[in-house]
Every structure is written in structure tokens, then in C-alpha cells.
């Protein structure tokens, strides 16, 4: 990777990488690890980019895959090494956005399943159903229904009806 590669090919998409990594982490330290790992994987896999999809779609896909992989690893580690009394899902106090409503929304998103988190993030990023399906690797027809269900669930979480 030339230093230009990061600036020209990753940095313009840093926003979505940050948003995705935030949805899968609970601390600044984890977030930075995830972000770096995503950048590293993009650089490592850049030769595999076949231009069959847009570069941005490809970045979304890598970001998502890295986040899901790291989350899985983290869960395994938690199961093996951390006592049950410590909840891995607790969000650190210093790990917050300046906007309080956004923090509440993120907390709610973190309560969703891994795939639902990805679906809703991509939806909120105004990706089309086709693009979401392409990134996640599912049928576009199911995405609309899924988004509606997730939004209902998020609303319930935000209204405090479910934990």
C-alpha cells in the first residue's frame, strides 16, 4: 500500500468503516483495533478486487466481514477467559458520540443480532435493497421485510419496552 492508497482509497470511505466498527464494539480500544484491522484487510485484499462491484460496496463487505470475524473471536475469548459476572456487551462510558440520541440509537443497534446490525446500518446509509443484499449475500426480496422488523424492534428498545 502506498501512503496514497490509504488517503485515496480508504479514507473517503472512513465514515462507513467507523460507523460499522462502532456498531460491533463497546470501547474505544476495540474500535481502533477493528478499524485498523479493516484497513489492513482492505490493503491485503486489494489485488482481489475485480471491479464486479463498486469499490465502496467492496469496502462495506470487507468491513462487515472483519467486524463479524473479530466479534466471533472476541466472543470465543470471552467464553474461555472471562468470568460470567462480567458482561462483554457493556459499553464504556468514554466511548460515546457527541450526540446523545445517536448514542441511544447505537446502544439499541448493539442489542440486535450481528446480521440485523449490518442490515440496519446499510439501510441507514441509504443503500438500496439490492446493494444491501449484495453486501450481505442474501436475497434482495427479504431485505425490505427485515428492515421493517428491525425498525420496529429498535423503536421498542428505544422506547424502553424491551431491554
Amino acid at each position: 500500500m502506498s501512503s496514497d492508497f490509504y488517503k485515496s482509497s480508504i479514507l473517503p470511505f472512513a465514515g462507513i468503516i467507523i460507523k460499522l466498527c462502532r456498531a460491533y464494539t463497546n470501547s474505544q480500544e476495540d474500535f481502533e483495533d477493528y478499524y485498523q484491522e479493516v484497513c489492513l484487510q482492505i490493503w491485503r485484499s486489494k489485488d482481489n478486487f475485480r471491479e464486479e462491484s463498486q469499490w465502496s460496496t467492496w469496502i462495506y463487505r470487507i468491513s462487515l466481514n472483519v467486524c463479524l470475524t473479530l466479534l466471533k473471536k472476541k466472543k470465543n475469548n470471552v467464553q474461555h477467559f472471562v468470568s460470567d459476572s462480567i458482561t462483554a456487551e457493556e459499553t464504556e462510558n468514554n466511548y460515546a458520540f457527541p450526540n446523545e440520541s445517536l448514542n441511544l440509537l447505537y446502544d439499541a443497534i448493539r442489542k440486535l443480532s450481528e446480521i440485523d446490525r449490518a442490515v440496519i446500518m446499510l439501510y441507514l446509509e441509504e443503500k438500496s435493497q439490492k446493494e444491501i443484499a449484495e453486501i450481505i449475500g442474501t436475497n434482495p426480496n427479504n431485505i425490505g421485510v427485515r428492515v421493517r422488523r428491525i425498525k420496529i424492534r429498535l423503536k421498542k428498545i428505544l422506547d424502553g419496552k424491551i431491554n
Binding site: 500500500m1 502506498s2 423503536k155
Partner: protein, 218 residues
């Protein structure tokens, strides 16, 4: 909840400091460690493969009646493995805690040393392998007589004027010497082709990374 989640999302990220990309200083460390780890892994696998092959070939050579080839192969490849194992130990001594630039520099120096030693060794390795094959088949038992001697008898029957040196046709010795000479001459080059084939991609990435870090330092 009053606002829709779409609005919360949109408004939340309007504030400029909501999306600050973390510094990626550590990225170069991760990348260099990744590249070097990958090389170490491949290097170890390569050495293990050579050991397995030399044992297997030694075993097979006794069965097919060319034990001389098997023994020479085994001894030569064992020497190759011992030399490269020592080199690998030097590689393991590189301190992972130093900066990525120093780490890559140290690795690069190690690579150059490794290439230089193996290039010199290859000038002997390929001729020895060729000679071991010639000797193995020469002394292979062919109905109670070494195959080489049997072959010479047949040649002498067809060409009685053939000039012999120590019972071997001179033309055969000349051809063998030419092949040995060429293998010795191009042994280093053959090794470099082999190296490029196995580790080419890693070296390319390493080169890119070095250039990248150097451009950041300048």
C-alpha cells in the same frame, strides 16, 4: 421516541467530530509483522517438506535400487536444512518490539544474507544432485551387473572404437562435466527463480511496504 431512527442517524453525524478516523500508526507494525510471519511460516513449511522428502526419498531409493542417490540426496538436503534452520534461528532473534521500519530493515538484511548463502550453496547443490542421480543409476544392479558397466559393454559392442577413461566412455564424461559446469554456473540463478516462484508475492509486498514507509519518513 419522537424522532425517526433515520433522523437520529442523519442528525447525529452532522456534527463534525462524530466521525473521526483513528490514527493508523500501528498499521505498519501490523502489516510488517503479518508479512514477516507469513514468510516465517512458509520458510518453516519449506524446511519440513525438504526433511520429509529427503527421508522418503532415502527410503524409496533402497527399494528401487539406487541407494547411492538416496544417501547423497539425504546428506546434501540435510546440510541444506541445517544451514537454513540456523538462518531461521537468526530470523527469530529479530526483536519484534522495534519500530516497523527497523523491523523491516532487519528482515531485509536477513533475507539478503539468506539469499547469498543459499545462492552459494546452490552452485554445489544442483551438480551434486545430478551426480547422485548418475552414480545411483550407474551402480544400480542390472541382473547381477552394475547398470553402468552393462551400458558400456553394449556401447562397446556397437562402437568398438569408443575411447574409455577409467572404463567410462570419454564422451559420457565430457557430457556429464558440461552439465555439471552449467548447473554450477547457473545454480545461483536457478535458486533465485525458485525463490521468486515460492516467495515472490511476499517479497513484492515487502518492497511496497518498505517504499511506503520510506516515503513517509522522507
Amino acid at each position: 421516541m419522537e424522532k425517526s431512527i433515520e433522523n437520529i442517524w442523519r442528525e447525529g453525524f452532522v456534527e463534525s467530530d462524530a466521525l473521526v478516523a483513528p490514527k493508523i500508526n500501528n498499521l505498519y507494525n501490523q502489516k510488517s509483522i503479518h508479512i514477516i510471519d507469513k514468510f516465517k511460516r512458509m520458510f518453516k513449511i519449506n524446511l519440513i517438506a525438504i526433511v520429509v522428502f529427503s527421508f522418503a526419498f532415502l527410503f524409496i531409493s533402497f527399494f528401487v535400487g539406487i541407494p547411492i542417490t538416496g544417501i547423497i540426496f539425504f546428506v546434501t538436503l540435510s546440510a541444506l536444512v541445517v544451514i537454513n534452520k540456523k538462518l531461521l534461528n537468526d530470523l527469530e532473534k529479530i526483536d519484534i518490539g522495534i519500530s516497523s521500519y527497523q523491523y523491516l530493515k532487519a528482515f531485509n538484511q536477513w533475507i539478503n544474507k539468506q539469499i547469498s548463502i543459499n545462492k552459494r550453496f546452490s552452485k554445489f547443490l544442483y551438480p551434486i544432485i545430478f551426480m547422485s542421480l548418475v552414480l545411483g543409476f550407474w551402480f544400480k544392479d542390472a541382473e547381477g551387473e552394475p547398470l553402468g558397466e552393462r551400458l558400456v559393454s553394449k556401447i562397446l559392442t556397437g562402437f568398438p572404437e569408443t575411447y574409455l577413461v577409467f572404463g567410462i566412455p570419454a564422451i559420457g564424461i565430457v557430457i556429464a562435466l558440461i552439465i555439471i559446469g552449467l548447473l554450477a554456473l547457473f545454480g545461483g540463478q536457478i535458486y533465485k527463480w525458485d525463490l521468486k516462484l515460492v516467495y515472490g508475492r511476499i517479497f513484492k509486498k515487502l518492497g511496497e511496504l518498505m517504499t511506503d514507509i520510506e516515503s513517509l519518513r522522507s
